[in-house]
């Protein structure tokens, strides 16, 4: 016991030795393509990523799912490559490839031996402009996308509630639509809409190139000039998105599904995201989510799972790396025998206690030390670091913002966090969701 009390105090000193941030450099081509290079020379491997600053929140009304559908279609034929040949060439070179779509971005990546980087750029540049999009490919892939929606969303009551929550949390902004799209709209998407979307948004001045691994910035720049350099800019900036009206009421969503095993209550608040040059509030919200939720010592699990044993799981999280809005969410999966109404009351009570009691300074120091240490651990996976950069850049942040983030976290005080907590819990309207089994006669027996 004594020994670990001692560790708990002495462990809080800063990291010994300087943390050396991974070597990151930046350049921009004349056609507007922004490029980031993250060096890691431990193994002859490179991750090549191209992020487009376009996502589900940029879809025209009534065409939900088009950004993600297009992401699937980018693996189909171009003027020079046959259907599926892109991935075949990646595989023939020992590489792996995939893609992902979110509200603010659509990203494509390959992981290959570092001497294959030029080939990856050649193919990625090709499909930036030269996709054919045949009717046949579009029809077959629609079925794949609908199967994906069935697998990820429609078989998961939690995912279905999540869709309903977002559609309620946002009243005007397109973060209200699901990234994968509503089924009835996916079913109606046709070649013309997809082709228009592709031509408008897939251009070098709307893209971010990220290369991480065993490469030098000079090599990357030379290859990027060859492969991406000749493509003309589109000069078609992203349209401004609708903004939220002032939120003036709390809202509730109850989703009932016989497939629910563990009912839960979940509550979301609309907050600030990380803003360029202004990340202090987001840093406080990030630490608030850690203080409330991190491991067994977070305020919510500590109270509800450990002290009271009234919850199976209770925690929260902050999604702040977004272009337009952030979200702060808390949830409680109650222990058997406790109703959702009681679980909601438990959440209210524990949050009120937290606002009253404030932050344990030792816990806060431990969390700050973990943030410092994360800079060591993250260097071990530059592919993940590449993703962190892509995500933040497509949320409108700059390289400088990304690099200053750890210092801003370190400068955040418990008072800042409590101020953010009062802003969220006392000053923001929210959406409360219940996930539950349908009420039946058996259930009351």
């Amino acid at each position: 016991m004594l020994r670990f009390a001692f560790v708990a105090l002495s462990g809080l000193i800063a990291l010994t030795g300087p943390t050396r941030a991974a070597d990151v450099s930046e350049f921009t081509l004349d056609n507007g393509l922004q490029a980031i290079v993250i060096e890691d020379h431990r193994a002859p491997v490179v991750v090549h990523m191209l992020w487009y600053r376009v996502g589900a929140a940029d879809e025209p009304p009534g065409e939900s799912g088009i950004a993600h559908y297009l992401e699937h279609l980018l693996f189909k034929a171009t003027e020079t490559l046959e259907n599926g040949e892109f991935s075949e060439i990646v595989e023939a070179n020992g590489g792996s490839d995939n893609a992902f779509t979110s509200w603010d971005y659509t990203g494509y990546f390959q992981r290959v031996a570092s001497d294959r980087l030029g080939l990856m750029m050649q193919m990625e540049a090709d499909r930036m402009r030269n996709l054919l999009l045949t009717e046949d490919d579009i029809e077959t892939e629609r079925s794949v996308v609908l199967e994906e929606r069935a697998e990820r969303t429609e078989t998961s009551p939690g995912a279905l509630l999540g869709e309903q929550m977002s559609a309620t949390l946002y009243q005007a902004h397109p973060y209200r639509i699901p990234i994968i799209g509503w089924r009835h709209e996916i079913e109606q998407l046709g070649r013309d809409e997809i082709f228009d979307f592709y031509h408008r948004f897939y251009a070098p001045d709307n893209a971010i190139l990220i290369v991480a691994g065993d490469v030098t910035p000079d090599e990357v720049q030379a290859l990027a000039e060859i492969h991406y350099g000749p493509i003309a800019a589109s000069n078609a900036p992203r349209k401004a998105r609708p903004t939220e009206p002032p939120q003036i009421a709390n809202r509730r969503v109850t989703y009932e599904d016989p497939r629910v095993s563990d009912p839960y209550v979940i509550r979301s608040y609309l907050t600030q995201p990380r803003e360029p040059g202004d990340q202090e509030t987001a840093a406080a919200l990030t630490l608030l989510s850690n203080v409330l939720s991190h491991g067994a010592t977070g305020f919510l699990p500590s109270a509800l799972q450990f002290d009271e044993q009234r919850a199976l799981y209770a925690a929260g999280f902050y999604s702040g790396t977004r272009l337009d809005y952030g979200e702060f969410t808390i949830y409680n999966v109650p222990a058997p025998g406790i109703s959702l109404e009681e679980a909601e009351a438990d959440l209210d009570r524990v949050i009120a206690d937290f606002l009253e009691m404030g932050i344990d300074p030792e816990q806060f120091a431990r969390l700050q030390f973990q943030w410092e240490a994360s800079r060591i651990y993250e260097e071990d996976d530059v592919g993940e670091l590449a993703r962190t950069y892509g995500n933040a850049l497509s949320a409108g942040l700059s390289v400088q913002d990304i690099q200053e983030w750890p210092e801003i976290i370190a400068a955040t005080t418990p008072e800042d966090v409590m101020e953010a907590a009062r802003m969220v819990f006392e000053g923001t309207y929210h959406v409360t969701g219940y996930l539950t089994q349908p009420a039946t006669e058996e259930a009351t027996e």
Binding site: R42, T80, E91, E147, A150, A296, Q309, E362
Partner: protein, 436 residues
Amino acid sequence: MMFRATLIALTLSTTPALAQVQIQEVTSPGGLTAWLVEDHSIPFVALDIEFSGAANLDPEDARGATYMMTAMLEEGAGGLTARDFAAATESLATYFEFDSYRDSIIVTAQMLTQNRDEAADLLRLALIEPSFGEAAIERVRAQILSGIDSDQNDPGEIASEAFYSMAFQGHPYAHQTEGTVESVLALTRDDLVDAHQNALTRDRVFIGAAGDITPDELGILLDTLLDDLPENGTPSPGPANYQLEGGLTVINYPTPQSTALFGHEGIERHDPDFFPAFVLNQILGGSNFRSRLMQEVRVERGLTYGIGTFLSLLDHEPLMLGQFSSSNELVAEAIDVLRAEWADIAENGVSAEELAAAQLYLTGSYPLRFTGNDTLAAIMARMQSDNMPIDYVNTRNDQVMAVTQQDIARTAARLMDPDALHVVVVGEPVGLEDGG
């Protein structure tokens, strides 16, 4: 067309650089063996400690004991409560995970160089002196019961439970590692203490380490962690004796999309035909778009988001398995395609082009795996538990390249048996009847 020719020329002209990983065998002063990739460029070490046996060792009247015991390792140890223990790991920024599977318990750790000794003392407490306190037992029991309940609403888990219980009657593989609601409710502290004594022993441990540590330092670290474990515990059970015949099992579950789990007996890693089978699996249902099943079921027909097969190298009975999900109206057609592909590859083997493409991918991608301390530590622990030689990483690609079309045809005829293929479907499939 120029563009196309250039691509192909590039594809075939060079092979990717080989992995430059140096694996050292380290023997601790106390006699434990570990494999180490020493790399001082980032100041932390990753450990992967695998104990073979795991859920197979559960006595019949204490199913789920090993699973619960493993979950309890971070729930208080050596006089520290669960929260004290968590706070101590936080103050050191060290990370531990304790996971249990059918054949093994896997403990992973990341420790900063600057406080590695304190982190090791903490992990030692979890491994050697877990408290199994009453309050913690009840908290974890409730979480496990909730997990079992969730599994009963998860089509993939329902399919898996059905497949294993039919295939391995009378063997521990017939049971889910978590146990059942009844068995978990009945578990006592004594069951957990017994499971701990039996499962975490020195004779069944395999260790991988990678990062900022010297061989001497690693030896001392391992003795700190593991010296006080018992030498041996319960012996593992015997062969599992696969009993499932070919056919179809439909489990009705109201959901719009059906999940299918399919397979039959597989092949052991030390079988002389393992490499042909490994390449064959890559061609049939390996982890990429090019596989026959992905092409036929997803790309050509749009019947699924993903389908794959894998060689499951269970310790006591290898399997050849696969999985996919399809809407209730489409799943019957997808199964027809699957069965046709299964029969075709059994009868006709693979083409020269398919073999060459699979070899190019498998040999080219292999060196790319060896990055990241966590990944390296895991690879080395798995290699040892699979009884691979330490120079395997240097010979593996040659073994892949040595596979011929004839090898695959011979292996396919032996391994792939369309009549033995059993498909379990969970959902409300249209046009499928049990037993059909």
